[in-house]
C-alpha cells in the first residue's frame, strides 16, 4: 500500500510542481473558459434572458472544452522528451499512476473552473444566494467524472496522429450522461424555489464518477502499454 501511495504522491507532486512553474494547463483552461463565457455573454444578453437558462449551458460548455484543451496540454507535457516512455519503462503500479494523474487533473480543473465561475458570476450578474452546497456538489461531481474519463483518453489521444482532434471525438459521446446531469442539475439549483429532481441528477453524476473512475483505474495500464 505504501508503494502505491508513494507512486501516486510522486505523480501528483510532479504534475503540480511542473504546472506551478509552467502554468500551461491552467492558463489554457482559464483562457479558453473565459472566452467561452464571453461568447455566451454577447450571444445571450444577460439582461434579456433568464440566467438559469443560459448559465448552466454556458458554464459546462466552458468547462468541457477548456478542460479538454487542458487535458490535451497535460498529456502533451507528459509525452515531451519521452516522458511517457519513462513512465512505461518503470515498474510502477499503473493504477497508482492513474490516481496521481486523476488528482492532479482534478486540481487543475477545479482551480480553472473557480476562476471561470467568478467571471461568470460577475458578467451574468448572478445572485450569490444560488451558489449553495448542491451547486458546488454538482460542480465537483461533474468535474471528477470529466477527469476520470479524460485522464484515460488524454493518453489515447496522444498516441493518435490527430491528438487534439481525437480527444473530444473520443470523450464527448462518453461524457453525454454526465453533461446532461450536470447541466440539468445546475439549472435546478440556479432556479429560485424548488430543488425537485436534483437528487436524481446527483445520483447519476455520482454513479457516472464511480463507474468511470473504476474503469479508468483498471484500464489505464492497458492504455499506456498499447
Amino acid at each position: 500500500m505504501s508503494a502505491f501511495l508513494s507512486v501516486t504522491r510522486a505523480v501528483f507532486r510532479r504534475d503540480l510542481s511542473a504546472e506551478w512553474r509552467q502554468k500551461d494547463v491552467l492558463t489554457t483552461v482559464i483562457m479558453f473558459g473565459l472566452l467561452t463565457v464571453v461568447t455566451f455573454v454577447f450571444a445571450f444578453d444577460p439582461a434579456r434572458h433568464a440566467r438559469e437558462e443560459i448559465v448552466p449551458g454556458c458554464l459546462w460548455t466552458a468547462y468541457l472544452f477548456a478542460g479538454m484543451l487542458g487535458l490535451g496540454r497535460s498529456a502533451a507535457r507528459d509525452g515531451q522528451d519521452g516522458g511517457t516512455v519513462g513512465l512505461l519503462l518503470s515498474p510502477a503500479d499503473r493504477g497508482a499512476v492513474y490516481v496521481g494523474k486523476f488528482l492532479s487533473h482534478a486540481v487543475f480543473m477545479l482551480a480553472g473552473e473557480a476562476v471561470v465561475l467568478l467571471f461568470t458570476i460577475v458578467w451574468f450578474d448572478l445572485d450569490g444566494r444560488h451558489l449553495t452546497a448542491p451547486f458546488f456538489l454538482i460542480l465537483l461531481l461533474g468535474t471528477l467524472g470529466f477527469v476520470a474519463v479524460g485522464t484515460v483518453f488524454a493518453v489515447v489521444s496522444q498516441k493518435s496522429r490527430l491528438r487534439e482532434v481525437m480527444l473530444p471525438v473520443l470523450m464527448l459521446p462518453i461524457l453525454a450522461p454526465m453533461v446532461m446531469a450536470a447541466v440539468e442539475g445546475t439549472a435546478i439549483v440556479l432556479t429560485p424555489g424548488s430543488n425537485e429532481g436534483l437528487g436524481e441528477w446527483l445520483k447519476l453524476l455520482a454513479g457516472f464518477d464511480l463507474v468511470f473512475a473504476v474503469a479508468g483505474f483498471l484500464l489505464y495500464g492497458f492504455v499506456l502499454e498499447e
Partner: protein
Amino acid sequence: MDTLLSARGLSRRYGRNWALSRVDLEVGAGEVVALLGANGAGKSTLLNLLSTLHRPTEGTLEIFGLDARHHHTRIRARLGYVAHATLLDDGLTARENLRYYAALFGLTKVDRLVDERLEEVGLSRRAHDRVAGFSRGMRQRLSLARALLHDPELLILDEPFTGLDAAGCRDLAARLEEEKSKGRAIVLATHQLERVLSWSDRALLLHRGRKVQESGADRYDAAGWAVHLAEVAEERT
C-alpha cells in the same frame, strides 16, 4: 558468464513491413554489445523489443531468465534505458526528476541515492536548477543518472550520443566505459563507432532488419567498421 538476455528468432512487423526479422542474440553479465547498421537497419526496433517497450511479433525473448511477453514489469525493474529522448521533465529540477523516477521504481533512501547519482554525472551543483535550462550534454548526463538510479543489471542505449558535442560525447563514453568496468551489461546502438568500439565486446551488424554478422568488436577499428558497413550495405542493395 551468466546469460542476462537471450533472444531467439526475434521479429517485429509494423503493418506489412518487417522491421526486424529472425534475430538471435545473447548477452552475458558484464558484456557490451554494439548494434551497428545504417538508418533503418532495425537497431532501434531491436532495442525497443529488448527494453520491452514493444512486443515481438515472432520469436522468444528472455531477460534475466524471465519471458519478456509475460513479465515485462519485473524485467523493467532491472533494466536501464537511455535514448536520444531524455525522458526528463523540463519543468522539474534535476533533483526532482530523479526523485520522481526513484518513486516510480519504489526505491528507498532516495535523498542519498539521488545525491550520489548527481555526483557521479557531475551535476551536483545544478541539482536545484530546472532541466529546461540545461545543455544537451547535461540533459544526457542526467538521463544516464536517471537510468542508473535503480542500479540496473542491463543498460540499453539507443543513439545516446545524438546531439552531443565532442566534449559531451567524450564524457558520456567515459561514463559508459566506467559502467562496463562495474560489471554492467550494455546493449547499445550508435553511429559514433569510434566512441564505443574500443570498449565493446561484440558487434552485431544489422541490415534491413536482419542480422548479417556477429563478431568481436575488435575485428576492425572504427574506420574499418565504417568501411565494412558501407560494403555490406552495397552488397545487399
